[in-house]
Chain length 226, copies 2
């Protein structure tokens, strides 16, 4: 029963509210909770096997992150990304990831570049195996790694949050984008390795432009959820 989950959660040293937040985020991103769906505190508390307090705290943060909308005295619902949201998110993401690419190019150590190359290798392999889920995961890891290499915590945390949302909207809209983007990733890593900020920024912009276009294609007629 609930104790099972609680024991599992408690075994780790993270506060329950964080566990709940993480679980809530992934549940939303994975589509377990659909946009517009009502999230009552009691239900979440039961789902996660905790009391209302950790749930409430997690909900507030989830709201700040844009995953849920909270209406006073009416409760929380899963946010409903509109098609306009895609445009807006990509407009911001474009700027931020371009900056990240530039900074990464200017600051990357040999070890940093090596870690990126390793990810590319794994990605190539996963692509050959047609393991799309793994490719998507590596894709994500690569982006986050570049953000980390940029060495700017603000940039990193903001872009990371935005990236999560993009994934969410993607998944909602349609199937995942194919490993198609991998060629662009190679360009990007090459540019970062070269240490040429301009070039890295351009590569990032190219990549995002393609990703954005893909997002639109997928989104065609895919957002009738509300």
């Amino acid at each position: 029963m609930a104790e099972d989950l609680r024991d599992k959660l408690g075994a780790q040293h993270l506060p329950l509210r964080d566990q709940v937040l993480a679980a809530l985020r992934t549940a939303i991103i994975d589509g377990d909770y659909l946009p517009g769906e009502r999230l009552t505190e009691d239900r979440l508390a039961e789902d996660f096997g905790v009391s209302r307090n950790p749930v409430r705290e997690a909900l507030r943060v989830a709201e700040a992150e844009g995953f849920v909308v909270i209406l006073p005295r009416r409760g929380a619902v899963v946010a409903s990304p509109s098609s306009g949201t895609i445009t807006d998110m990509f407009a911001v993401r474009e700027r931020l990831e371009a900056l990240a690419a530039r900074l990464a190019a200017e600051r990357a150590t040999a070890a940093d570049v090596a870690s990126l190359r390793a990810l590319l290798d794994q990605g190539r392999e996963a692509t050959q195996r047609r393991d799309l889920a793994r490719v998507a995961e590596l894709n994500s890891t690569l982006h986050l790694r570049i953000l980390q290499i940029s060495g700017n915590p603000w940039l990193s945390s903001i872009a990371r949050s935005l990236y999560l949302h993009v994934q969410w909207v993607f998944r909602l809209g349609a199937a995942e984008r194919a490993p198609h983007s991998w060629a662009e990733h190679i360009q990007l890593v090459d540019a970062i390795e070269s240490g040429d900020g301009d070039r890295a920024e351009r590569a990032a912009l190219d990549h995002l432009e393609a990703a954005s276009a893909a997002a639109y294609e997928n989104a065609e007629g895919g957002y009738g959820l509300r």
Copy 2:
């Protein structure tokens, strides 16, 4: 009108947690709570005259926003911005506000421009009265207004949060930046009115460059807090 009613119904009641969050933010920004200062739940609850629950929820959001740091089982302390923080924040802000200026230029209605001009007028007046606090406030309002006009909610909320932090760091570092930046603001509004995105973006960048330089000057030796 139906939506009017609906908005009013729920939105009328400000939950305590939101009031606490707002109060906490401004207390931190105004320096009432200094970096590194410990924020126990009991104390905050007493300070704000509420129970601990709203305080806890506000603290989680404040953490997500970067105003406090919460160490598990140890509690919350006011975040300590380092001098590196300034560089990082401005790097991000530069990109975001440049984008905001461009979008604002492309989308501003006549009424939007008029509201910006009104702010400029009030600013000029306040400057003549040497009412620095008011100038700073108008300054802030102007920036937020431009973000709003940009019509991109993501951009707006992210940049807004960043802007609050910049204010905070400023205030910590030294006295406020003078109305000196007002001339740049006029340039910015002119550019937005012209509808020329490139020009608006350039104006925003110029403005931020100057602001950034000023921040550095002020920060010289001002951040011994950690």
